[in-house]
């Protein structure tokens, strides 16, 4: 008698693939990359908070990570990160949703130019699309516009030289400017600006919308960089708060499920899109341990290191290389090292 399961590899079975797996040191065979990412390939990174870990570890292990908006000379890495430098390939801050990614790329490549939106706080001005990159704000809306023009040029330059685009899908919930359709990474009034229900509304994107947004982004990206490949991850970081009306737990599971399903469908349908299962490593209970810290939101350093070890195991086919000593990239990432606007929402928690 023959069974289609007879000759499957160990990873295909729960007992050998999960239950008896040494997640902290073994050869997990968790990820079988669709395409090779060699150290020389130029990687562009973007996404939600968790993507910062990925970008930092890639840099620390010698990957050629694009940075078209480097910090001023002599600025310390921790200072640079507070000003939005060294987080990603350009200084866009966290991009939580596929719609925000699409809009940034539309602007950067000239497909859909949009005027900047400046938010005010105590007489200082912030770019509403990346309010966290200037913690003290800028002098005027005009200065916001100058910085944004330079930023968009930098995004375009990064895209046009990238070989691989690594993107971490973070959220389905977002706030939209009703007049322009612009998606903000944070609600107005969180970092700057003020919330006006007549001008800004809550969005909770569906599977179809996220899928369509990513496909529209892919089209723009490939037009600017033919041959570009895409590596998706889903952020395992739960929502700090939901505006959906649901309890935050089901709201989180909805959001992550949609994103995971979109990533899965994209990976099935396109040879140039791959998915790395960092979400599964961190957020499922099946590894028999928690990789979250006491907040049950932030990923503990051990979790980040496990993710990156498995990433490099998949990429190189061997155990994880040592992290190079690089002053710009501490060997052990601390969970509080990432810059995450969401933590500001904590101040609003009752």
């Amino acid at each position: 008698m023959r069974s289609p399961y007879q000759n499957l590899p160990r990873r295909a079975f729960w007992r050998t693939g999960v239950r008896n797996q040494d997640w902290l040191g073994g050869d997990t065979d968790l990820w079988q990359p669709k395409f090779e990412i060699t150290p020389e390939m130029r990687v562009m990174t973007a996404g939600s908070c968790f993507a910062q870990h990925i970008a930092r570890h890639l840099r620390a292990r010698g990957q050629n990570v694009i940075d078209t908006e480097p910090p001023p000379r002599r600025m310390k890495p921790e200072t640079a990160r507070a000003f939005g430098y060294l987080l990603y390939s350009a200084r866009y801050g966290n991009i939580y949703t596929a719609r925000q990614l699409l809009q940034v790329m539309q602007e950067a490549t000239g497909v859909f130019p949009r005027p900047p939106i400046a938010w005010e706080r105590d007489g200082r001005w912030f770019d509403a699309i990346r309010p966290s990159v200037e913690p003290e704000g800028l002098d005027s809306p005009e200065e916001v516009a100058v910085h944004r023009r330079h930023h968009l040029k930098s995004v375009r330059r990064a895209l046009r030289q990238a070989d691989v685009f690594v993107f971490t899908l973070g959220l389905t919930e977002a706030w939209e400017d009703l007049e322009t359709g612009r998606i903000f990474p944070t609600a107005p009034g969180t970092i700057a600006g003020s919330y006006d229900p007549a001008r800004c509304s809550f969005r909770n994107f569906t599977h179809a919308e996220v899928l369509a947004d990513f496909l529209a982004f892919r089209k723009i990206a490939l037009r600017n960089r033919p041959g570009l490949k895409f590596l998706l991850t889903v952020s395992p970081v739960p929502l700090t708060a939901t505006a959906s009306g649901s309890h935050v737990l089901p709201a989180t599971i909805y959001s992550k499920s949609v994103l995971r399903a979109v990533a899965g469908q994209l990976t099935q349908e396109f040879d140039d899109i791959d998915y790395f299962p960092s979400y599964e490593i961190i957020s499922t209970p099946f590894l028999g341990r928690t990789f979250y810290d006491d907040t049950l939101r932030a990923v503990a350093p051990e979790g980040v290191e496990t993710v990156m070890r498995i990433f490099f195991e998949g990429r190189t086919g061997s155990s994880s290389p040592e992290i190079e000593q690089n002053p710009a990239a501490p060997a052990r990432a601390r969970s509080d090292d990432v810059v995450c606007e969401e933590v500001l929402l904590e101040a609003f928690a009752r």
Binding site: P70, P72, R73, M75, F83, P135, E143, S154
Partner: protein, 240 residues
């Protein structure tokens, strides 16, 4: 009171001032340890003392100190001369400028980011490395003396290229703020360039500057050194 002065080539002017006729040393005995460039800026702690890291630096150290091969931990105070100055802050502005000063090869950066980078620039210096090394050995008072600002003639040379006249006031302002932060956070006294020697925004009055191009137009006269050493003596007299 016995103090050790460890420094780069700017130590020369201070030594000249210290030994100039009539200089009031205030009862202080000084031992000088010098080497050009960053020769002593990377000294490390070994056997309870500071040691230079290269043979060449060890030779300079011996020559300048009268035969000593290490900086011992038993001085009553230490002066770190040079290893930080306005040049470190000017570096911040090489590739980034505020939008109203930016040119084609530079990126716009906010004034806040540039000020923060300037503060970082003065923290990541050989001077602070030496201070940390010293603190492994002793809690004796430490005075930091900045590199002097350059001779204004430097404006006529290609060395001036990376500065640029329009940005100098902002560089000087950022430097002054970074110095204040350094003084507040380093645990050491910071002696900046004596007021009367500064030619605004970021030069040394020509009468205090050596005028030899081979010295890079960055080195000062013994008269300048004497003014700085007056401040050093005063700093140790004042106590912590």
């Amino acid at each position: 009171m016995r103090i050790a002065l460890i420094g780069n080539s700017h130590l020369g002017a201070l030594k000249g001032g210290w030994e100039s006729p009539g200089f009031d040393k205030g009862g202080i005995e000084a031992v000088f340890f010098g080497a050009p460039g960053n020769g002593l800026g990377d000294m490390v702690v070994r056997e309870g003392a500071l040691f230079a890291s290269t043979d060449e630096s060890r030779r300079y150290m011996s020559t300048t100190s009268g035969g000593l091969d290490r900086v011992a931990a038993n001085y009553d105070g230490y002066v770190l001369v040079g290893y930080f100055g306005i040049g470190f802050v000017a570096d911040v502005f090489v590739g980034h400028r505020p939008p109203d000063h930016v040119n084609a090869n530079q990126a716009p950066a906010s004034r806040a980011a540039l000020r923060a980078a300037a503060r970082d620039a003065l923290v990541h210096t050989p001077a602070l490395h030496l201070l940390r090394q010293l603190r492994k050995l002793t809690q004796a008072p430490v005075v930091l003396v900045s590199d002097p600002m350059p001779n204004p003639r430097i404006r006529d040379t290609d060395k001036f290229g990376r500065w640029g006249a329009d940005i100098l006031p902002l560089v000087a302002e950022s430097y002054a703020e970074a110095l204040r932060t350094l003084a507040e956070t380093s645990g050491a006294k910071v002696i900046t360039q004596p007021d009367g020697t500064v030619l605004a925004p970021a030069f040394t009055e020509p009468r205090y500057a050596l005028d030899h191009a081979e010295h890079g137009l960055r080195h000062m006269t013994p008269e300048y050194g004497a003014l700085v050493m007056q401040d050093v003596v005063a700093a140790f007299k004042e106590g912590p």
